[in-house]
Subunit: 277 residues, 2 copies
């Protein structure tokens, strides 16, 4: 039967395999207009493992009830946020700055997708650089003067007919990409959790049992079709990625079905529906 | 000089290179509680090129003023949204369904990151399959019964200490990944826009001009250091990815600087600051 082969699953949050970074990027909001947007930005930062929030001349209080409420548990980031009078002052300790822009600029400058920028950020962060993400005002974004302070323009590929993201969504997408670039787990996995995937030996026993009964009941009576029918049935069962318990269940189903309908067993009542949990 | 080599930039939204899909995924919200969340979901869908919104027993009107306002221009998606009494009815025309879950489930089932799921979705969509994305209630998500209706569980890797996304953010991240999986443009580019990158011939002329003046003014007077100093200066200028116009500007700067300070030219006033646009 084999021992329990509890497959690793990234669903197990406690063990989420993420490369740690001692210097994740700072998030710099230039003249944010609404406290609520600062709050939702803090929440998005928290989701993505970011904590250094810098505010350049914010137009509303980032510790207002509205802002803290919008942060949904990321009040700590708001409390530690720092206010700066100018963008220059907010970035002076940083070495590489990425500016997120929504519209095209006539500038001779490196442009990266959020994903490519995230790879670049991880590489620089691992090399010990201090980096920052610059986001502009809700309506008008960043000025050309401010873009001149950044190394790279970051663009988020989106539906060209409706590409505008709100401030916190833009922070979420860039932060999400930062987080993914450090994610080191499996991309796709069959999560067996506490169940045990079946060995080919046990699966072969199921094939044998099923095909024997299908021979006896006449389902495989056409000799010329029999081989391909068997391969198809086997492929169907292979795709199901069965567990040891499920193979036992299928043996039971085959055994019971071959008796046909019988009256000496209790039945479910008519009108039976699948229970919902 | 060469002709204009206008580099392609994905900043040019009108030409955004995206693989078209005749059957993008439907978004199915199971018992959404708040009209506002349905609105922000519609906005996120519009951002990601999705349009087929299906609502299973929604608890508020999705065409309320609040919902339409929150959709920020995606009212069309709300107007075309369809209501279903059950999840089974909402997905009956689909072939593959991806269910987004926030917390770990004890289920034997395929689990994918949002990114891996997006690749899978694109492959199935291109093969003509009709696919759907299932999202649960704001607070309690999807029931096990509902997960049993889906092919794949989708998990979004996020900060394990603060991984909860609101409904529209979850739709945005999964939709964003869908869009990226169809994005066919460059990941990183030096955007020259209307400027022309310099040829190595013109760059060599700049090197020659600068090094000649540096020899004459004595900056390169140490013979043993001269070769490495020259390589360093050249690397610095290579990194700048200069344009033809910028090389002309640098020739002018070198020429003017070598005269030293002079009184026969108008000067900027003291206290001069960089203009902000």
């Amino acid at each position: 039967m084999g021992g329990p082969t509890q497959a690793h699953s990234y669903a197990d949050k406690a063990r989420l395999p993420v490369k740690t970074s001692s210097n994740p990027p700072a998030v710099i909001l230039v003249e944010p207009q609404l406290g609520e947007n600062i709050g939702t930005t803090a929440r998005a930062m928290m989701n993505c493992g970011l904590s250094d929030l810098r505010l350049v001349d914010p137009k509303e209080d980032w510790l207002s009830e509205k802002a803290v409420g919008a942060s949904s548990g990321a009040a700590e980031i708001l409390q530690k946020a720092r206010r700066f009078a100018t963008t220059e002052a907010a970035i002076e300790d940083l070495e590489t700055v990425y500016a997120t822009t929504a519209r095209r600029r006539e500038m001779t400058k490196a442009v990266m997708t959020a994903r490519a920028a995230a790879g670049d950020m991880r590489a620089r962060s691992l090399a010990g650089q201090r980096i920052g993400l610059l986001f502009g005002r809700e309506r008008i974004g960043l000025t050309n003067h401010e873009l001149g302070l950044a190394n790279v323009l970051v663009e988020i590929p989106m539906n060209p007919e409706h590409s505008s993201l709100n401030l916190a969504q833009a922070v979420l997408v860039v932060g999400y990409e930062w987080f993914q670039a450090g994610y080191d787990g499996p991309d796709a996995i069959m999560a067996f959790n506490k169940t045990t995937p079946v060995t080919k030996e046990l699966l072969q026993e199921l094939f044998d049992h099923l095909e024997q009964e299908l021979d006896l009941c006449g389902f495989l009576r056409h000799d010329e079709k029999r081989p391909s029918m068997i391969v198809n049935i086997r492929n169907m069962l292979q795709r199901a990625e069965l567990t040891v318990q499920e193979v036992r269940t299928l043996h039971g189903i085959i055994k019971e079905l071959r008796y046909g309908r019988r009256d000496d067993r209790p039945k479910r009542q008519p009108g039976y529906k699948v229970d919902k949990d």
